[in-house]
């Protein structure tokens, strides 16, 4: 049973007080947050109030919900009503949304206790959280190294014990890669399984919200709490997957695990070794390992770095200083736009906006954005063919273990390579998750990525649970 699952059960039964639970996590935050900087904003008072309210519900015989009293951290690109939501950008510094994201509403309805808004790469663009306008987050396992990104704060918060679970967002790997680097579970659901209403958009056809947790069971519980149709999101799938509880206990007897024989190279030897060990462990548990090919997989990086910036260039155009956020005054509106956006956006964001604008521009659309959309189709088709012969696939989540600060910032492309194995799932809209599976270089955690077809969360969690059982 997962720790969050246990916690909630204890609070609901009255055995444990939510107020006591949250104090424990707030103490952990007090002890190490200055060093780790997982949060843009710690919500200690609000958390205490909420915990007290939950205890009151229990005391009066009510049921606060399946996440009763569970401390949760939220990536700071999720809208929280009346609470600053900055996307780790100067352009939104201090902005308080007048509404809650759907996932925030669902967590509240489930009884969760929000302890803070976590740090991220600015507007979710990055793989190390070094692009935050408010300073980087440090990997709790080794503070000289990055936690990964863009959801570095949410991964670190769970790894450091500042929250039991957290939510991040994943556009090209921004949940799975930091999960791998911090040694926790990170899940990107099927595109459309979790409502994007209230998630500040980076790339609309790729973004998904998902859970971080220390246990597969907790990740499943959190995902179930937030997934499901939302009429406020037109891309929301009407019916998602059934409850995942049974999958966690099912084992992998007869499950076909795909090994992608034409997977792009680039993973470090220590990571490769752990992936091999994962295949062996699953085989020992009764799974069938099958060689499959996904020829277009290797083009995912290029397709992604044309599609995502293109959509982002449009999504980020609304930050113009007119209605909310930063405004730098100027003599006319055009000058105001330029001054505001130059001052408000960091280098990586500006770089991607420029790239995206170019990819969509007249005369270049077909060569860049248009072409990338076709590559996307090839990847989806290749996956579909491969899934005729296997139920899930396994790859590394990240090419390397956590890397030192500054080691990949000289050349943007070096950083982009971090997403090599995670991107294709976003392009295809498929679910994927990272599960810690032993250690690599310098005793740092390695994450193995489980990929599944659309709405294949049950079999994905089935395999993840087995990996978790055999990781130690």
């Amino acid at each position: 049973m997962g720790r969050a699952v246990e916690l909630a059960a204890g609070v609901r039964s009255g055995e444990v007080r939510a107020a006591d639970v949250v104090e424990g996590y707030l103490s952990a935050i007090d002890a190490r947050e200055a060093e780790v900087h997982a949060f843009n904003l710690v919500l200690a008072d609000a958390a205490r109030e909420r915990a007290a309210a939950i205890d009151a519900v229990v005391a009066s015989g009510g049921d606060p919900g399946p996440l009763a009293g569970v401390p949760v951290a939220l990536k700071d690109n999720l809208c929280t009503r009346g609470v600053p939501t900055t996307c780790s950008s100067k352009i939104l510094d201090g902005w308080r949304p007048p509404y809650d994201a759907t996932v925030v509403e669902r967590l509240a309805a489930a009884g969760a206790v929000v302890v803070g808004k976590t740090n991220l790469d600015e507007f979710a663009m990055g793989s190390s959280t070094e692009n935050s306008a408010f300073g980087p987050t440090r990997n709790p396992l080794d503070v000289s190294r990055v936690p990964g990104g863009s959801s570095g704060g949410s991964a670190a918060a769970v790894a450091a014990g500042f929250a039991e679970v957290s939510l991040g967002s994943d556009t090209g790997g921004s949940i799975r890669q930091p999960a791998a680097l911090c040694g926790v579970i990170g899940v990107k659901p099927t595109y459309g399984a979790v409502s994007r209403h209230g998630l500040v958009a980076f790339a609309s056809s790729l973004d998904q919200i998902g859970p971080f947790a220390n246990d597969v069971a907790d990740a499943a519980l959190l995902l179930e709490s937030i997934a499901g149709h939302d009429p406020g999101d037109s891309t929301s799938i009407p019916e998602v997957f059934p409850s995942l509880g049974a999958s966690l206990r099912a084992g992998v007897e007869g499950v076909r695990i795909g090994r992608i024989s034409d997977l792009p190279a680039g993973a470090d030897a220590d990571v490769e070794a752990r992936l091999e060990a994962a295949f062996e462990a699953l085989a020992a548990a009764g799974a069938e390992i099958v060689d499959v090919e996904v020829p277009a997989f290797t083009y995912g990086l290029t397709a992604y770095y044309l599609i995502a910036p293109a959509e982002a260039s449009s999504n980020l155009a609304r930050y113009d200083g007119v209605r909310f956020g930063l405004r730098v005054d100027a003599a006319d509106t055009n000058a105001m736009y330029t001054a505001t956006r130059s001052a408000g956006f960091g280098d990586e964001v500006q770089r991607r906006i420029m790239l995206g604008t170019y990819a969509l521009s007249a005369g270049y659309y077909d060569a860049y954005y248009g072409k990338a959309l076709k590559v996307r189709r090839l990847i989806a088709d290749d996956f579909a063919r491969a899934y005729e012969r296997c139920d899930v696939m396994l790859t590394p989540a990240s090419p390397s273990v956590a890397f030192p600060f500054g080691s990949k910032t000289a050349d943007p492309f070096a950083m982009y390579l971090c997403d090599t194995y995670t991107i294709p799932s976003n392009l295809a809209g498929h679910p994927a998750m990272s599960v810690p599976f032993g250690s690599g270089a310098d005793d740092l955690p390695v994450g193995v990525q489980v990929l599944a077809p659309a709405l294949g969360e049950p079999v994905m969690f089935q395999v993840a649970a087995e990996l978790e059982r055999r990781a130690s």
């Binding site: 007048p98 056809s205 891309t235 083009y299 770095y305 006319d332 000058a335 072409k371 990338a372 492309f413």
Partner: protein
Amino acid sequence: MTSQLDDMLGHFADIDALDLDGVEPMTQPYPLVNVLRDDTVAPGLDRDEVLAAAPDPDSDRFRVPPILGLDG
């Protein structure tokens, strides 16, 4: 930054090797169609709350500097 743009576009040349003839562009990961909503009014936002968060609010509208680019 423009030279970095050129470098990146250089990296992206790998897809030029692919034969994409007859491949349909994929804009949506999950094939939904006809998602519609009823034409019923729902509560919106409070004007004062919204203007309070604006960079330069007038009493009832958002103020911006002169709009350039038109002689109209």
